[in-house]
Amino acid sequence: MMRGMTDPFDAWRLVGDLQVTLDVDVLIGAFPDRDGPAGDPAAVAATLGAHRIATGAAANLRAALFDMRSGNDEMLATGAPFVPVAVADLRDPIGAARELERVAERGARAVRLFPDEQGVEAGFPSVRHVAKKAVALGLTVLTGGDVRRFWRPFAGLGATVVFLDTHFYHLGDFIVAALDEPGFHTSTRLLNSPDALETVAAHVGADRLLYGSRAPHYEPLVPLLRLATGGLDAEQVAAVAGGTARRLLG
């Protein structure tokens, strides 16, 4: 006998009227080494729309995995609902610095780094070199990688950084690094312990949190649900759901 016929997994009832004005972690393109969506812009835009995400700060996987210049040009030419984010290939620090100058001249406000996908460790000279170049150009950095290691190449530069892979296991490391670095921020994608968002807000402020989904390769509903059901107040939620991202990315 079944108790009730209502949907036991009605997530939208919990999400309520929450809307994301800018998602800091969106990808265009596919990963050739894994199954998953093709990531064409129209489909990604549809995914965002289905989750009430108005705009996405999007980087191009062609740029991340194969060719910075053509991939970045594709991204810069893509219009709404995307805010284009340039990519610097850490496997080529000389070319990356040159590419950052080029995309900054074309209006890019942020650069995304893919150290894990590119096999680059935090201690490689390339990372520090690109970090310095991004700061010099006034670019916000969106970076993957383990925050326990990737905080270091950005420390002491006055950099504005969003760590996209911060896992709640490593939340304490992010917080103590962020206490010394006012420009350090984190995506909420993997902060899905019961009190991670609230803990960041209490220690360094909710304005260090940015909603990030990694659509279409991750389920946007999960961080959306966590943000909607957490303990942040309405003003804090609005900041996480895009207010802070708009300030950082323009």
């Binding site: 079944m2 036991p8 009605d10 919990l14 939340l171 993997l190 991670a196 390769h217 649900l225």
Partner: protein, 251 residues
């Protein structure tokens, strides 16, 4: 109605303070019943954690897993004999990493062999291809019914293969990551009678597993099976307990 077959009670060593979180979180997500293991039992001292948990279970919303450390089988057998008859403990929890006991280890095989005659399901931590080893254990050990905790996490394709090889292996999905399509692929590849719902709460907020399942576009029938029907059929509970869950077993 939702039955969470993979939940916890007690503190964690990470930067978090969730020791008291449980029923309020369950209510938020419509989780009627959680089957929890004591974090102390899983991480450090199984008998001490089981003992502490016994004082918390209410037999209404919170039921328990008896945690067994494969390296302390005598303790585990004693705890099973003591706690399962209470009716408040309805399953067994065995962690591989915290006990240094991979699924292929002799002590894990001995633990699963010891547990099987007790008749309750064993929730075992699985990651990557290790879920295939759990399926093999089910095939090798008569009567063993096992739940692959995390259904292999990033190894969900191995979990599909594992579940298809043995109908006494069940999968539950909790993971802190939610790659797109993971749940839908498993549901498409496995008999939905072998699927359960778990959250890993209070380590992970239910948002993760709940949201991943919600996003999978499942049929009403599949949702009901995952949410509670399969769990109600799997766990050996008496009529009074079922009444507390406000359900009865499927014919």
């Amino acid at each position: 109605m939702i039955i969470d077959v993979h939940a916890h009670w007690g503190p964690w060593f990470f930067t978090m303070d969730v020791a008291r979180a449980s029923v309020a979180t369950m209510d938020r997500y419509g989780i009627d019943v959680s089957i929890v293991s004591a974090t102390e039992a899983v991480i450090y001292d199984a008998p001490a954690g089981n003992r502490a948990l016994a004082g918390v279970l209410d037999g209404q919303r919170l039921f328990g897993h008896v945690t067994v450390n494969p390296r302390r089988l005598a303790d585990g057998e004693r705890d099973l004999r003591e706690y399962l008859p209470t009716g408040r403990f309805v399953g067994v929890k065995i962690h591989t990493d915290y006990t240094g006991s991979p699924l292929t280890s002799p002590q894990m095989r001995e633990a699963l062999t010891m547990v099987a005659p007790f008749g309750c399901p064993a929730l075992v931590h699985t990651w990557g291809p290790s879920v295939l080893d759990l399926a093999q254990a089910c095939l090798d050990i008569p009567g063993l019914r096992a739940i692959a905790g995390h259904m292999g996490a990033d190894g969900h394709r191995f979990a599909i293969e594992a579940a298809r090889s043995c109908d006494r292996l069940y999968l539950e999905p909790c993971w802190s990551h939610a790659p797109a399509g993971r749940i839908a692929q498993v549901v498409a590849g496995v008999d939905t009678r072998q699927l359960l719902f778990g959250t890993d709460s209070t380590l992970i907020d239910p948002a993760s597993a709940f949201g991943a399942v919600a996003a999978a576009g499942l049929t009403r029938e599949a949702k009901a099976r995952i949410a509670w029907e399969n769990a109600a059929a799997l766990f050996t509970v008496d009529n009074d307990v079922l009444a507390a869950w406000n359900v009865s077993k499927q014919p």
